[in-house]
Structure formats: structure tokens, C-alpha cells
């Protein structure tokens, strides 16, 4: 039993009612320890996105339990009043495309989250620069997103996901637009950051190149998950 990270128990998500009801998730169980990076793999329509949205507190599950760190955030109903603040402070997101805000420079793209949390601009920028340095993109701190390469953009997006030190990061196909070398670099960074900041990271992927790097993999099909040990030959 993990102490922090994220754990979900018997999580279900149903769309519609009665005869037209469709279960996108059926009694899904999953747990990811702090510092661990797990893969979530499944074909299209298997329920990956639905699970990610439930984990990200974007849509409400129908039943089950979700524990984030020490806090039960869902138990047959939301236990957290401000889901917006929950997403801002306790969940980091990394998307398939970086989706950086095009009118903010690299530093402010990362510093925006702490600023939204009420941290002073100077302190937020300081935190951002610290992370950009850790991810080796500090030299592009004042560049605009359009001036960055794909790999640099994704590293900035990872910095944004990490900046509020969330207990969990949800990464949705973070390597999809990248070539093999850059994809492996991103996975290496995610592993490094997970260990460094004690963050649980769930990586949704189709990318066969990176699947062998996971120690544990959750497969999902028709809304049901099962776990298998990965090759785990990754980045110890």
C-alpha cells in the first residue's frame, strides 16, 4: 500500500442511463507510488481519455474512490469543493502537443501556475527558472514558444506540469510528436523528475519505443484495466 502518489479503487464512469447506458470505465483499480512512472496503454475507445479526465478532475466518475496523496478527493462523489484549485495545485498535465500559451514567454508559461495560486510574480518566476534549469532549457527562458523546437517546447510543458510540485502528473501521449531520440529524452526527463520531486507520473502512450521503459504498465480495454510488469529497463 502506497502512502502518497495516487490510488483509485473500483472507479466507474457511465454515460447515459437505463438501456442506453454505456460504461466507459468499469471498476478500475490503479495505484502509482511517488517517484514512479507507469504506462497506460490501450487501443482507441478503450477508455484511456475518460480515465485521464477522471483522474484530472475534469469529469466526474459515476462511482469508486480516488485518493491523491493523503487526501480522498472522490468517494462516490467529489470530496473537494474547488476542483479548479485541485487541478492547479495537485495535478500536473503534460499534453500530446505542448499547448504553451503563445503570448507568454517560456518563463511566464511555467510561472503562470504559481501566479494563479497567488504566489508573487518574482517568486513564481524564480521557481520557474529553477525548473527550467533542471530541464536544461534555462537558456530559452525569455524566448516565445514559437521560437522553440518541439523537444524544447515539450520540456517547457513538463516544467509547467511540475512547477507547483503536484503529487501526480498526467501525461497524455507526451512523445507522440517527437522522433525516437527526443521521445526517449522526454521519458528520461519524466523519470528524473519523478524521482527528484517524488511525483507519481502516469503516461498514456501508444509509442512502442517507450513502452519498454516502464516498470509497470496498465492495459485498458473496454473500460477494464489490468496490470502487468514492464521490462523496466528504463532509467534507473
Amino acid at each position: 500500500m502506497i502512502k502518497k502518489g495516487i490510488r483509485i479503487e473500483a472507479l466507474s464512469k457511465r454515460y447515459g442511463k437505463g438501456d442506453t447506458a454505456v460504461y466507459a470505465l468499469k471498476d478500475v483499480n490503479m495505484e502509482v507510488a511517488p517517484g514512479e512512472v507507469v504506462g497506460l496503454i490501450g487501443p482507441s475507445g478503450s477508455g484511456k481519455s475518460t480515465l485521464l479526465k477522471c483522474l484530472g478532475a475534469v469529469i466526474e466518475p459515476t462511482a469508486g474512490r480516488m485518493i491523491l496523496g493523503d487526501e480522498t478527493i472522490y468517494d462516490d462523489g467529489w470530496k473537494v469543493r474547488d476542483l479548479r484549485a485541485l487541478r492547479r495545485d495537485k495535478i500536473g498535465f503534460v499534453f500530446q502537443a505542448p499547448y504553451l500559451i503563445p503570448f507568454l514567454d517560456v518563463t511566464d508559461n511555467v510561472a503562470l501556475l504559481p501566479m494563479l495560486a497567488g504566489i508573487a510574480n518574482a517568486d513564481a518566476r524564480s521557481k520557474a527558472l529553477e525548473l527550467l534549469t533542471a530541464l536544461d532549457v534555462q537558456h530559452r527562458a525569455s524566448a516565445m514558444p514559437s521560437q522553440l523546437s518541439g523537444g524544447e517546447q515539450q520540456r517547457v510543458a513538463i516544467a509547467r506540469g511540475l512547477v507547483n510540485r503536484p503529487p501526480v502528473i498526467l501525461a497524455d501521449e507526451p512523445t507522440a510528436p517527437l522522433d525516437s531520440e527526443r521521445a526517449m529524452a522526454v521519458i528520461r526527463i519524466l523519470n528524473d523528475m519523478a524521482r527528484k520531486f517524488e511525483t507519481a507520473i502516469i503516461v498514456v502512450t501508444h509509442d512502442e519505443k517507450i513502452i519498454p521503459t516502464f516498470k509497470r504498465i496498465y492495459h485498458i480495454r473496454d473500460g477494464v484495466t489490468y496490470e502487468e510488469a514492464g521490462e523496466g529497463r528504463g532509467f534507473e
Binding site: 475534469v58 487541478r87 495545485d89 499534453f95 503562470l112 501556475l113 516565445m144
Partner: protein, 400 residues
């Protein structure tokens, strides 16, 4: 917290500035329309101010001399001059027509003024060049807006007049510049017929047995003489003595002379409330239409800009940005667009539109303040559609 709206504007400043300039030209037209309306009212007030009159005595039951034709006998002024409280009384005629000078002609209001000195009712109160009329015939003082210059010869009906003086801001309520000429010349100009018509009238009078009786020698000559001269003027302008009330003197003239008399405030009401009322309504309608068009343009621009940022807005919502922060960003952009538009509009109306417009355009500071507030209000209202669209964005769209 950084200004998201400010950063977005700075990021795409070219798009914002060009959009603001386009909107500004529309706002400039709107401000100019308001200025035209103010100019019309000012023209009407200037017409009354510069006539130096306290009372306008006109034909009974008419709204003359500016809003309706008015005709009173030319010696009426003498009996009015003798009434208690009257300091000065002077005849005046008004006739709007084309005045020719060389190859060009200018629409002007020909004003016939009596002999006198500066300060006489109807006289131009000040000159910017030359001198006042000193001769009884064929001299003119023109408003500088007519384009006439000192020494030029004007062609009014069959006579030529030399411009001896130039004045300023002497215009009719329609904005036509005034040309002052001696009263007798103006009376003749009002009723002058062509030679064929005069000969024809003489023949008719001679053929009429009532005017050509063998027992009344001289009758026909007297009739013909009366037919070829004009003994009427349009109004008598009256200045009253200090210590007398305008209403008191006006009532006295109404009672004893059986004429209609207007005070300054009544005449202003006729000019502003009746004479330019239709024009004012037309301008008001244009203002409303332009305001609606401006609102539609701002709404469309802000909505389009917002739709272009749907993915960013979804990401912002997903990472915990409050709805009010997103709404504020859109609202601030709309207001910024309004400010850019207003500044461009004000500059274009003041420097480019008003100076070249053929009518007097009076841009009042208060109108600018009101205009600015209306533009801001329109921007706020126009941003509502975009804000609604942004708030409907599902943060899940960022995940896919």
C-alpha cells in the same frame, strides 16, 4: 499576476492596432456626426447672436424670418422705434441664393441691412478685414467662409457688388455664409423681375380699365410705380433699452402693432426645435446606426480573436485559471480595442474630418467624454458574446 490581455495584445500588436485603426475611423465618423449636429445648433445660435437683436418683429402668425416667409411693410420700424423701451429698430431682409463671382458661384444668404453704424441690429458685429458698408448701393460684406476676397465683384441678380469687408462666423441656420448688402438693394433683389416680365405687367396694367381711367390721369403711372418697387422687408430687429424687460416690450408690440414678436429664447426654440429638427433626427439616426455597426464590429472582432484561442483557453481552465480571469482577459482586450479606436477616431475627427467637412463641425469636449464612455460601454457589451463562448469551453478539450 501578469496581465494576460496585455501580453496577448503585445504579442499580436499589429493585428490589434490595425483593427483599432479601422474601428477608429468608424468612431471618427460617429464623432464627426455629433460635431455636425453641434455645429448646426451653433450656427443657429450664432445667427441670433450676431444679429444683435433682443426681439424679432415679423408678419403676424408666421414663424419668420428664418423658418417661414415673413413680409411686413418697410416703414413699420418707425412706429416700433417710437414705442416705450425700444432703443433701436432696423429693417432686415434675408434671401438665400447662388451668388456668382467670375466663373464660380457660392450659395449664400443675402442679408439686407439698413444704413447705420456698427452695432445697428442686423449688421455684422465685427470684421476680419476691410470696412463696413458705407454707401447706399452696390457694396457688400461677406463671410470669409464664402471664399470671397476684398475687392472682388459679386453678381447678385442684375447688379454687381464690390466686397469691401470680410467677417467671420456669420452664417445662416443651414450653414450658408452670409453676404451683407444695403437694404434697398436687397429688397430689389428679392422681388426683381426680368425686363420682359416688367413690360408685360405694364401692358396688362395699361389694358386694365380700372387702372387706366380717362378721368384719373396719373393713376396708371402710380400703379406701375408701385408694381416695380418692393416696399416690404422680412423682419424688424429690435434692441431694447436697459431697464425694460424683453417680454414686456414684446407684449406691447404684439398688442399695439398686431404683429408677431419673438424673444431670443423663442427664436432659438424655432431654429433648433423646428428648423433643424429633421436634420437633427437624421443625424441621430446615423449616430444610432453607426453605434450599432461599431458594436457589431467590436463583437465580431473580439469573438473571432477568442475563437482563435479556444485551445489556450481550455488549457488555462484545465490548469486552474478562474473563469473571472479569462473573462477579464477578454474584457480588457475589448476595452483596449475601444481605447485604440477612440484615440484614432478622435484624432481623425479633429485633424482630418472636421477641417475638410463642408459644414461647420463643432467637436465639444463633453461629447468626446460621452463618446468615450459609449465606446467603452459598447466594448463591454460586445465582449459578452465572446466571454460566454470562452466560459463554455470545456477544459477536457485540452486533453482531447
Amino acid at each position: 499576476m501578469i496581465s494576460l490581455a496585455g501580453r496577448d495584445i503585445m504579442h499580436a500588436w499589429g493585428k490589434f492596432v490595425f483593427t483599432g485603426v479601422g474601428l477608429g475611423l468608424l468612431i471618427g465618423v460617429t464623432l464627426s456626426m455629433a460635431g455636425i449636429y453641434r455645429g448646426m445648433i451653433d450656427d443657429a445660435k450664432v445667427l441670433l447672436d450676431n444679429s444683435s437683436a433682443d426681439l424679432w418683429v415679423v408678419q403676424k402668425d408666421t414663424l419668420g424670418p428664418y423658418a417661414e416667409p415673413s413680409s411686413i411693410y418697410e416703414d413699420t420700424w418707425r412706429s416700433i422705434r417710437g414705442m416705450p423701451g425700444v432703443a433701436r429698430a432696423a429693417n432686415v431682409t434675408y434671401l438665400t441664393m447662388q451668388v456668382r463671382e467670375g466663373q464660380r458661384d457660392v450659395r449664400a444668404m443675402i442679408t439686407g441691412i439698413t444704413a447705420g453704424e456698427p452695432g445697428t441690429p442686423g449688421w455684422p458685429p465685427y470684421l476680419v478685414a476691410g470696412r463696413q458698408i458705407t454707401r447706399g448701393h452696390y457694396e457688400a460684406v461677406a463671410d470669409i467662409a464664402s471664399g470671397f476676397r476684398l475687392g472682388e465683384r459679386l453678381h447678385i441678380r442684375r447688379n454687381h457688388y464690390t466686397v469691401v469687408g470680410l467677417t467671420r462666423r456669420m452664417v445662416s441656420s443651414g450653414g450658408d455664409p452670409m453676404v451683407f448688402i444695403p437694404l434697398k438693394d436687397a429688397q430689389e433683389a428679392q422681388f426683381l423681375k426680368d425686363n420682359d416680365a416688367i413690360l408685360q405687367q405694364r401692358r396688362r396694367s395699361a389694358a386694365n380699365p380700372a387702372f387706366n381711367k380717362p378721368g384719373s390721369p396719373g393713376l396708371l403711372d402710380a400703379v406701375i410705380a408701385s408694381q416695380s418697387s418692393n416696399a416690404y422687408v422680412n423682419a424688424v430687429l429690435v434692441q431694447i433699452n436697459a431697464g425694460y424687460g424683453v417680454d414686456e416690450v414684446a407684449e406691447s408690440i404684439r398688442r399695439w402693432k398686431r404683429l408677431t414678436v419673438y424673444t431670443r429664447s423663442q427664436m432659438e426654440e424655432i431654429l433648433v426645435g423646428k428648423l433643424i429638427a429633421t436634420s437633427a433626427k437624421q443625424i441621430g439616426m446615423f449616430l444610432v446606426i453607426l453605434s450599432i455597426v461599431s458594436a457589431a464590429i467590436v463583437a465580431f472582432i473580439i469573438y473571432t480573436l477568442t475563437l482563435g484561442k479556444i485551445r489556450e483557453i481550455a488549457v488555462l481552465k484545465l490548469i486552474g485559471t478562474r473563469n473571472r480571469t479569462i473573462a477579464a482577459m477578454i474584457l480588457q482586450q475589448a476595452l483596449a480595442l475601444g481605447v485604440i479606436g477612440f484615440v484614432v477616431g478622435k484624432i481623425s475627427a479633429t485633424l482630418f474630418m472636421a477641417p475638410i467637412f463642408p459644414k461647420y463641425v463643432l467637436l465639444e469636449p463633453l461629447d468626446s467624454v460621452i463618446g468615450f464612455m459609449v465606446v467603452m460601454l459598447i466594448c463591454v457589451l460586445s465582449s459578452i458574446i465572446a466571454i460566454r463562448a470562452a466560459l463554455k469551453v470545456d477544459p477536457a478539450e485540452a486533453i482531447g
